[in-house]
Symmetry: C2
């Protein structure tokens, strides 16, 4: 099959073996797959991953042992758990000790013609949602998780730091729930997408940042984001942390203790909530697609996805 392989370099292959389909797994023919910040990190060596990257996808099930799945158009959760370790038994399957993660850890991903995933990971899509909207289900689920983690009550105000893909989607998800949102970023074009959906937008470093906010979502991707968030949140407020900074960096958390702030690490989320927002048209992510490529132009697609002004870059399979 066609696949984009990362084996230290990124290369297109038309003879890559189709994925094996284990017991309880389905084989999915991929229609659309999205490039995410994690993919850009993977091709820089993050996680030491070797194989086919890609974890945001829409496809059609072509082989499955589970009645009702074959032929269905699906999106899929990316963490595959063992079901047996202490964390799985505690209900923490997403954190399974021997988990594989689609296109990220121990399992080939979505930048290919086909992928395999456990039946339990798949969500059948309602017909209303287009493929190019549905490819946002995974990152929108992560955005919905940020909304849950922020625990915002009626009348509270949220600030989002970072106007990248995740920051923007999080702004759209909060707005869909009727929350007042201020998005702080560096790209006027990206801010404008949230602005049209009803967010107040502020260019980072300019006046009018406002606050203190009841909750701040830290999605800058920068080691400095947390200190900014701490300066903007009210006492006893919440900071939801989306940025993963692997390196140690200098920081004081004194104000977290003195102001009794909660800092919540937030990663993957609830697909059902995301699919519902897409089906009801309450979040329209398609304007966030900056470019479309075939798999055979993988390098160009990754290069475009890394541009500062780019939002979502997707692969379309014919």
């Amino acid at each position: 099959m066609n696949a984009l392989l990362f084996d230290g370099g990124l290369r297109f292959r038309n003879d890559y073996p189709e994925p094996a389909c284990g017991k309880g797994e389905s084989l999915v023919a991929i229609s659309v797959a999205g490039i995410c910040a994690t993919d850009l990190e993977i091709v820089k060596g993050y996680m030491g991953f070797r194989g086919v990257p890609g974890h945001e996808f829409v496809g059609r099930v072509i082989q499955s042992g589970r009645p009702g799945l074959k032929g269905a158009r699906v999106v899929g959760e990316i963490n595959c758990s063992c079901g047996r370790c202490d964390l799985c038994r505690r209900g923490l399957q997403k954190h399974c000790r021997s988990r594989t993660v689609l296109g990220i850890q121990g399992r080939d991903g979505a930048f290919a013609d086909y992928l395999s995933l456990p039946d339990d990971n798949l969500h059948i899509l309602p017909g209303k949602i287009s493929d190019q909207a549905a490819v946002f289900a995974e990152p929108l689920a992560a955005a919905c998780q940020a909304c849950d983690d922020a625990g915002v009550r009626e009348g509270e105000e949220v600030a989002i730091l970072g106007d990248g893909r995740l920051g923007l989607l999080t702004a759209l998800a909060f707005l869909a729930h009727g929350t007042r949102v201020t998005l702080i970023g560096t790209h006027r074009q990206k801010l404008a997408i949230a602005g049209r959906a009803g967010a107040r937008t502020v260019v980072s470093g300019e006046a009018g940042r406002g606050g203190p906010y009841d909750a701040v979502i830290e999605a800058t991707g920068s080691p400095d984001g947390l200190a900014q968030a701490l300066a903007m949140v009210r006492p006893r407020g919440r900071i939801v942390m989306k940025t993963t900074v692997a390196c140690r960096h200098a920081l004081s958390l004194a104000s977290l203790v003195i102001d009794e702030v909660s800092l919540v690490g937030s990663r993957c989320g609830n697909f059902n909530a995301a699919i519902a927002l897409l089906e009801q048209g309450r979040v329209d992510p398609e304007p966030m697609i900056s470019a479309r490529y075939p798999l055979s132009e993988g390098e160009a697609a990754f290069s475009r996805a890394g541009d500062h002004d780019a939002l979502k870059v997707v692969f379309l399979n014919s």
Copy 2:
């Protein structure tokens, strides 16, 4: 009156003026006052405080405009709010922008014959609680706050890092609520106090630390405590942070995001919960008193409180 004054150095005075009693405030004759880690920091210059330190006390109201307070034996909350700023209006009086804090910020404290506090800050003590137990009401309230912030459910396990005053009291508070507790510290004598109350105890650096824990209370007072806590908490677990480290220090919070851990800054707490634990005899803090001094021996008392093997050092007024 007698008072222990910090004006760059710590000195005993027998001619210090009695505190003024503002509108809505009571004057309290102090019986017992406790030295806390914050006091030890204050005499090193923390907060730039000048005046009479001390914020843990028991006393008797000798002047008050509020019916029922005069003559009552009381303990008192330490944050005095303006009632008018945006934070007070949001119900965040403890974080009032122009607050004074007893013996810490803008208000003389408890290492004296008398102090004044707003009537609203005072809690009348039940007769059952001795003065030398009641002097723990303030730090025990902070320990109860850690229990609340940890959000522990039935069957969950808690680790407490640090066997100082606050770590020990937090262990006793959790045990009083029937929670399984592992206390990790460096002093066998201090650990033994929690051990006798039912905690599992582990000497830091030795084997048997156990985990992963549902919640970890970070009360080491050290910049390294948080990294230890992150290594011991389960995915989606909670870390309650009691340590205030003012300096910037190197840290990676990647595992907080990947493991979706919540980090909750925790400071002052609910006096009612603490007084109830003392009244019902469910926490017995008196074995934690290492030494008793008169105010006139202030320097010796501070020196003793700073010893590694010391727990609570108190001043007794005659």
